[in-house]
Amino acid sequence: MSNKIVPSAYRAIIDDVMLNIRSEFEEFGVEEHVLAELQSKWEAKVVASGYPPNPPPPHPQHLHHPHQPQHPALAQPPPAPRIPQVDGPASSSDGGSSSRSPSPPPPSQSQPAPRPAADTEEIGSDLDDDDSDEDDDVDGAGNSGEGAQDIVFCTYDKVQRVKNKWKCVLKDGMIHINGRDYLFAKCGGEFEW
């Protein structure tokens, strides 16, 4: 399932911008190759953020993977283990011999020491995505790097509320959700507060 318009819309936007800034670049005396460099950097980053600027070949993607069609190029960093953790207690059953450590072994001695520090850091960054957002809410929505935050940019025609029922009419939206982009001309929202 995909919002098929997105790649071609992005393509049109990029082309439009590049076309129109050409004269500015000339005025500023910047060379052509910088223009090309800007375009390729821009396109690369757009691809990395989860959506290619070029229209994808007509795969029947949505037939295969209704939830997550494959994307050719992705920067989906696998969750890197932050704690270089090694099973401490397990080795004790073997007599605590540090000689048997086939896997990359940080010395078990120094393990406890950095651990509390790493723990707090990791706790902080783990919760960063979810819980601290709940506290800060509207303000604390930091960018977690790769646009991992689910967010919608749009305009509103109308926002109204009756008791705790909210209804709104949104227009011209860019949605980034679950690492993918969608666009809409109009969106009707209904929420309960």
Partner: protein
């Protein structure tokens, strides 16, 4: 002809951030000046707005639990929990939480659409 003002907040979108980051890199390596970068971003604001309106016709609906809302300077910000976006074609997309930033419709130009 005076250039119209377009909303700048779309720069926070994926494509906007991609452009901003690229421009930052070029500024850092001295290829362009910050002023030129500003001009590019202003052009982006315009190109994006124009193309969105021209090319995108899809309609969606969104339901969810409104966790927080804020209105400030004609900008609504909502945090919706367990949002469910229904895209065209009966496709439903969900997430644990989504933030919505919505500026008042009608270009920041004189007169509305």
């Amino acid at each position: 002809m005076a250039s119209s003002q377009y909303y700048e907040f779309y720069r926070g979108s994926s494509i906007g951030m991609a452009l901003t980051d690229s421009l930052d890199e070029l500024i850092t390596n001295g290829s362009i000046t910050p002023q030129l970068a500003m001009k590019v971003l202003m052009q982006f604001d315009k190109s994006l707005a124009d193309n969105l309106v021209k090319l995108v016709k899809t309609k969606t609906t969104l339901k969810g639990h409104l966790h927080t809302y804020r209105l400030c300077d004609d900008v609504w910000t909502f945090i919706v929990k367990n949002p469910s976006f229904k895209m065209e074609g009966n496709d439903v997309v969900t997430a644990p939480k989504v933030k919505i930033i919505a500026c008042k419709n009608g270009d920041a130009d004189t007169g509305k659409k």
